[in-house]
Amino acid sequence: MNIEERLAQLKTAAPDTITEGVMLGTGLADGYAVFDSPIGDVIVAFNLNGVSAVDIADSRAGDRFTGRFHRKIIQAEPPRGWTDGIRRAIERGKPGTLPIDFRSVTDFQRQVLEEAARIPKGQVRPYLWLAQHVGRPNAARAVGSTMARNPVPLIVPCHRVVRSDGHIGEYSLGGPHQKRTLLEHEGINPDLLEQLARRRVRFIGSDTTHIFCQPTCSNARRITANHRVEFHAGGQAADAGYRPCKVCQPA
């Protein structure tokens, strides 16, 4: 064998990690990793802009991702520091400092999702409340469809947003029973919530402080049974001389 042929034999296959790195580095594909959650394994997709999607980890997850975002998705190690950030975000149900890729939603939807991310763990807020808080009191329905299109459920806790009539409502990540599981996991009794909704109770007040709250507000939960007053509307509470709680800011 002559020297040219021996040199030609030094041609070697590039490691697969190069193609992955290029696809991620150019933004042509998102990476994904599997994480544990209260409703089972989920895939968390990410790219240079942040976490782009959370979905149930099943065999169709890749197809659903490509169908919605028009990008490929490949299994990859999250960027340094993100693994802990993602785990913590799922556990707390808020993004914290974790960057989120909101390019797949409109500015309005992004505003709604960022507002939803401020709902404390173990509490729920109705669509209407969220609509009022982003300055669009007539957009409760749009808020509902924004929750349905939340690209990062669990991390932006759309499971803490309930129907304006107080019923628990639909959930994009596997249906209403998963929403109940998540709320129970956060210490909320979903049956009690449904019961209040059926009785059209929207707010709970205390006859000692004359303050009224969202039913799941931490202040409402401290009210003892014999000082507890139920209201069907904010106007009714105001007429009775109650002021809204500064923490949960009921309508």
């Binding site: 020297i3 040219e4 040199l7 030094l10 041609k11 070697t12 590039a14 490691p15 193609t19 580095g25």
Partner: protein, 209 residues
Amino acid sequence: MLPAGGLRNAGARPDRCETGSGRDTSYATIRANVGFYSLMHDLNHRLAANLDEAFPEFVSAMRDPLYSGMRRLQPHDAEDLTQEAFIRAYQALKTYDPDRIRALKLNGWIWTIALNLGRNHARNKARRPTPAPLLDRHGVTDPDPVDIHGWDRRLSGLSPVQRKTVILRFIVGLTNREISEVLDRPEGTVKADIHRGLQRLRKTMEEEQ
């Protein structure tokens, strides 16, 4: 009907024509090159038509030769540099209009990017030296991680430009003209570098025996 001789030669590797210019005139190589160049020609058009869709093809067509060459030029950073070269290539293509993409000579172009990156990287590294691991984390996929066949050592005996030229010609498989464009040197000089580089390698190997 094919002549009998043609059939007999079809699978076998015919005698090579040693011209000293290093030109490989074997049928197999020419046939393989024709296929490769028509693929690359189509690729230009596909990249121009839909960059995002065609770019993964570009990567799979170029990654083995690019990595193989970088592996011999900058062993410790070959993987990072190969990856970064593709990312830079994509970012550049994003800004090019379709006519410019169609006119690109992709084989050489990617090497212009890679060699530039390699140069900058080496310069930065010299300024802020970091200890290079003897066995990098991808030693498993590297058939020659510690240079057991001695090629890194032999090639290091060449002048930098001879080494580059020989690697681009024989390991990567660029033509003399492509090398002349990538290194911005006259084709005659490229031929001379190849000739002298091979001579030097031959001498080194004779001395080893």
